[in-house]
């Protein structure tokens, strides 16, 4: 078992990074009826951990008896019926799914599943009508239509089920949904918190941590706890005992993007652009999300860039990131950004060095 999972806090009481939030959530669940919840925050900040702990708090250990179902939903979409296949994870009291997997048919999925859940609502031990919890991941990836239909179903069936939504950025969730939920922002843990967690794990694993080593990992992790623990574990595999100067390797795709960035800096020509496209294709084939590629690429380019260009480059990156979201094929937009960068950079080089 990976350390990330091994040392994941199981209950709200054990949570270390967001103790305050955890305590409040506990109070909320025990004292009164729980509202819809929207957890948002950067990756690796502990949203899922909190949600799992919360479910356990609500339903006890039964929440951990989950089964995976690959179910085909028959959806009546006006003139025709659609068959949408989706993997769901469910216990007696909750269902979890990624509605964005259904692609642009996501709006049907949301409606259909909530309806289905409302049909068979459980009755708890006290004879009181209970409610089911639906956990929806990656809500920010839902299409606008799906979010609208989610809003309507949320109202209609709020007596029967509670929604727990989870996403990275609340800005991509519509206002209507945000206002119907209790928004819980999960901040990325600070580096000190990460160091604390790493040291705890090191102690439990019986490892010798040289001073500054945990801090080094924390710094490299970009304030993602998951990332920190994962690289901690790889470091352990790569070299033990640790030294304080040990190289913390980054992900292979990140190295690849760095390579790509230096390619771009070296030569600016249509030919090079074509080579870059080939590399981008390889990243895309491996399902690295295009937004993340663009973000990482910008990060790598900015590292080596003259300060006066940074503003303009960032502007274009944002511009093409937005277009990517509106468009269909990401490569068109990433490539346009690369071409724009090359164009800017080349004219800058000519202006400075003649």
């Amino acid at each position: 078992m990976l350390w990330v999972d091994k040392y994941r806090p199981k209950t709200l009481d054990n949570i270390t990074a967001h103790q305050h939030i955890a305590q409040n959530l506990k109070k909320l669940v025990t004292e009164q009826d729980c509202p819809h919840l929207l957890f948002y925050g950067p990756p690796g900040s502990g949203k899922k951990t909190l949600i799992m702990a919360l479910l356990r708090q609500m339903f006890g250990p039964t929440a951990e008896k989950v089964k995976v179902e690959n179910k085909t939903w028959k959806v009546d979409a006006g003139s025709r019926t659609l068959d949408i296949e989706l993997t769901t994870l469910s216990s007696t009291n909750h269902v979890e799914l990624n509605p964005s997997d259904a692609g642009f048919q996501d709006r049907y999925i949301v409606q259909e599943i909530i309806k289905e859940m409302a049909k068979n609502r459980p009755i708890d031990t006290k004879g009181k009508k209970g409610f089911k919890v639906l956990v929806l991941n990656e809500v920010d990836k839902l299409s606008r239509e799906a979010q609208h239909s989610l809003r309507r179903t949320m109202e209609k069936y709020s007596a029967y089920c509670r929604l727990i939504l989870c996403c990275n950025s609340s800005s991509k969730v519509t206002e209507a949904i945000r206002s119907r939920c209790l928004n819980v922002r999960i901040n990325a843990p600070t580096e000190e918190e990460i160091v604390k967690v790493l040291e705890l794990i090191g102690k439990k694993e019986g490892l010798q941590l040289p001073s500054g080593f945990a801090a080094l990992i924390a710094e490299k992790s970009n304030r993602s706890l998951r990332r920190a623990i994962l690289s901690f574990e790889t470091c352990r595999v790569q070299q033990y005992p640790f030294t304080s100067k040990q190289v913390i390797s980054s992900m292979d795709w990140e190295e690849y993007v760095a390579e790509l960035a230096s390619d771009i800096m070296k030569e600016q020509s249509p030919k090079r652009l074509f080579q870059v496209r080939g590399k981008l294709y390889e990243l895309l084939v491996n399902c690295i999300p295009p937004e993340i590629i663009l973000k990482r690429l910008l990060y790598e380019l900015l590292k080596k860039l003259d300060a006066e260009l940074k503003h303009e480059v960032c502007h274009w990156a944002a511009y093409y990131e937005h277009r990517m979201r509106l468009g269909q094929k990401a490569i068109f937009h990433i490539e346009a950004f690369v071409a724009k960068f090359m164009s800017i950079y080349k004219s800058f080089l000519i202006a400075t060095f003649g």
């Binding site: 995976v68 390797s249 590399k279 690295i288 068109f332 164009s343």
Partner: protein
């Protein structure tokens, strides 16, 4: 005959209407009536008219030959329930003879070698081939099959017929029998007749030819005449098995027949190359050649010889058609003489209304008047008929990518900044080219995206950006309301054509310093392959979603791909196939063509990408 009169009355009614529209509205009532009758034409009436008409034709003609021809023509129409098994049709040159009402294509069928519009050398080649085989004793030549290829209407079958009559040989022709419609099939099966596919029939036919040769039925009277077998139309095949059968059957025919046989294969334009049948015919051609058949390819007929033929017909019909008109028709036909003659006939309908009425073809007159109106509006003579010139997709792409410009520019009336001004293009409006190539926005954009960088000048990174930004615009247009507008076809179409236009014009505008012309191969978008394999990988990853959280909850896909997968690879945990491919990729990405390795399952991918090609 009564019915026929009725039809004539109808058309005159039409004329009255047209007049009434221009002058007064007195005839508004008959107008509505005539419209009604025209919109629900009584099929029985029409048929009767046709029969009576043919009968009148027959009474004029007394030759037996024409009677047979008529029977074949109208057999289906009159006895609908019957299945016509016209497997082998006897064809006598001069069919359709001097029938004044017939189509000119039949009427002016070439009767001598001189009348053929096909290039002399090709005709000679075919003639010699037949002569040799007809004259010589058995087994002097290895093979007795000639394959003639060429696009539609270049006179392939006409050549064979003319040569046959020149050599005094009898032509036996195989035409694929008329298809069996479903009702007919039901009727047949209830009557106990089992269905045989056209391919079966063809196989039986070939078998018979091989074993017994041609059965001398009518040639009994003239025993000396020799035979030529003409296979005009190979049966359609669907699927690999049927195609294999056809191939085998043809192979046997090529190997064993002792009758000079001509197989005609019609070339389809490259525009249709996505079509299955076109690919099949290409393959068949190669296969027949490899089996030992001799091949002659007919080129499209030259403008000059089309013009010559057309003028000859005009002379014989005593119509005055201007040279420009003939020139136009010849140009529009694209080397298709059959089409040119039909166009000419249509064009000649105009000056003689009485004559066109006697053709008892109300629709034609109606159309004619319509088109007259339009051309009157245009104020100039324009061709309202003829084949549309089609371009292949690749041809169109080549035009866009090469971006040829007129070298010298006159002073432009619009003054734009140098940055935005471009030399005039050496082609029609891009939209027109797109239309001719039947270009769809998505594939066009993908193809342009894939290939445009090759055509840019080495230094022109700014151009690359301009092009890329326009392509990004096009992509955005294509994605807007994805799938939402399917119910509003019109809106969707507008969007599509706007996107195609943006992509094409963006490429044309952006590429302001085209690289010097040299030969570039146009590649198929790699993007398609990438999409396929990334989809494949994605389903693979979705299965691995339970990696984290001890399977208690689902991880985000992005987290799985960006964090868990690479980490697990390092840790040496469960490296499944997908991860290994990834490693391969990262290492040998320098080579161009390692994309084949990219997919998890090559076989599957090839199939799916093939499908995609067929789609457009």
């Amino acid at each position: 005959m009564g019915k026929r009169n009725n039809l004539v009355v109808l058309s005159s009614d039409d004329e009255e209407n047209e007049r009434s529209l221009s002058s007064n509205r007195r005839y508004s009532k008959p107008k509505s009536r005539s419209l009604l009758t025209r919109s629900n034409p009584n099929p029985r009436g029409a048929k009767k008219a046709r029969i009576s008409h043919s009968r009148s034709r027959l009474s004029k003609e007394s030759s037996n030959v024409n009677e047979i021809g008529f029977l074949y023509d109208d057999f289906d129409e009159v006895f609908n329930g019957f299945k016509v098994s016209a497997g082998k049709r006897e064809h006598v040159s001069g069919f359709g003879g001097s029938n004044a009402n017939g189509l000119w294509v039949d009427k002016y069928k070439p009767r001598s070698l001189e009348e053929l519009a096909v290039h002399k050398k090709k005709v000679e080649e075919v003639k010699v081939w037949f002569e040799e085989r007809l004259r010589s004793s058995k087994d002097e030549f290895g093979h007795y099959v000639l394959v003639i290829t060429g696009q539609a209407g270049v006179g392939k079958s006409a050549t064979i017929h003319v040569i046959a009559s020149h050599l005094g040989a009898r032509v036996c022709e195989w035409n694929t029998p008329t298809p069996v419609i479903w009702q007919e099939h039901l009727h047949n099966s209830s009557a106990g007749i089992t269905y045989t596919s056209k391919l079966d029939e063809f196989e039986i036919f070939v078998e018979r030819i091989r074993k017994y040769g041609l059965i001398p039925s009518s040639s009994a009277k003239e025993p000396k005449s020799s035979n030529i077998l003409l296979i005009d139309d190979l049966p359609m095949t669907n699927g690999k098995v049927a195609f294999g059968r056809l191939k085998k059957c043809l192979h046997l025919l090529v190997r064993s027949t002792r009758i000079p046989t001509a197989i005609l294969l019609t070339d389809y334009g490259e525009a249709d190359s996505a079509d299955q049948t076109a690919r099949c015919s290409e393959e068949l051609k190669l296969y027949l050649e490899s089996a030992g058949a001799c091949k002659v390819a007919f080129n499209p007929i030259t403008n000059n010889s089309i013009k010559k033929t057309l003028s000859r017909i005009c002379r014989l019909e005593r119509f005055n058609v201007t040279a420009e008109q003939i020139d136009l028709i010849a140009k529009a036909s694209g080397g298709d003489i059959r089409n040119a003659i039909t166009s000419l006939q249509f064009c000649c309908l105009k000056p003689d209304p009485l004559r066109s009425l006697s053709l008892c073809d109300t629709t034609t007159t109606y159309l004619r008047e319509k088109s007259d109106e339009i051309s009157a509006l245009d104020g100039e003579f324009s061709l309202k008929f003829g084949r549309d010139e089609t371009l292949s997709l690749f041809h169109a792409l080549g035009k866009f990518l090469h971006n040829k410009r007129v070298a010298l520019m006159d002073q432009d009336e619009f003054l734009v900044r140098d940055k935005f001004s471009r030399l005039p293009m050496k082609m029609d409006a891009p939209e027109k080219v797109l239309c001719q190539a039947h270009g769809q926005a998505r594939p066009i954009a993908d193809f342009l995206h894939e290939n445009v960088l090759d055509f840019l000048c080495e230094e022109a990174i700014d151009d690359a950006w301009t092009v890329a930004s326009y392509l990004s615009d096009a992509d955005m247009l294509l994605a807007t309301f994805r799938g939402m507008l399917t119910r509003y076809n019109e809106a969707e179409n507008v969007l599509q054509s706007a996107a195609a236009s943006v992509a094409v014009r963006g490429v044309l505008f952006g590429n302001s310093h085209p690289s010097p012309s040299r030969w570039h191969a146009i590649r198929r978008p790699k993007l398609w392959q990438v999409e396929q394999s990334s989809l494949c990988n994605k389903t693979e990853i979705v299965k691995r979603r339970f990696i984290g959280y001890s399977g208690l909850t689902l991880s985000d896909l992005s987290v799985v791909t960006t964090e868990y997968t690479p980490m697990l690879k390092w840790l040496g945990y469960g490296t499944s196939g997908g991860l290994e491919t990834r490693q391969d990729l990262m290492q040998d990405n320098k080579t161009e063509d390692n994309f084949d390795k990219m997919s998890l399952d090559d076989q599957q991918e090839i199939e799916t990408t093939d499908d995609e090609i067929e789609d457009w």
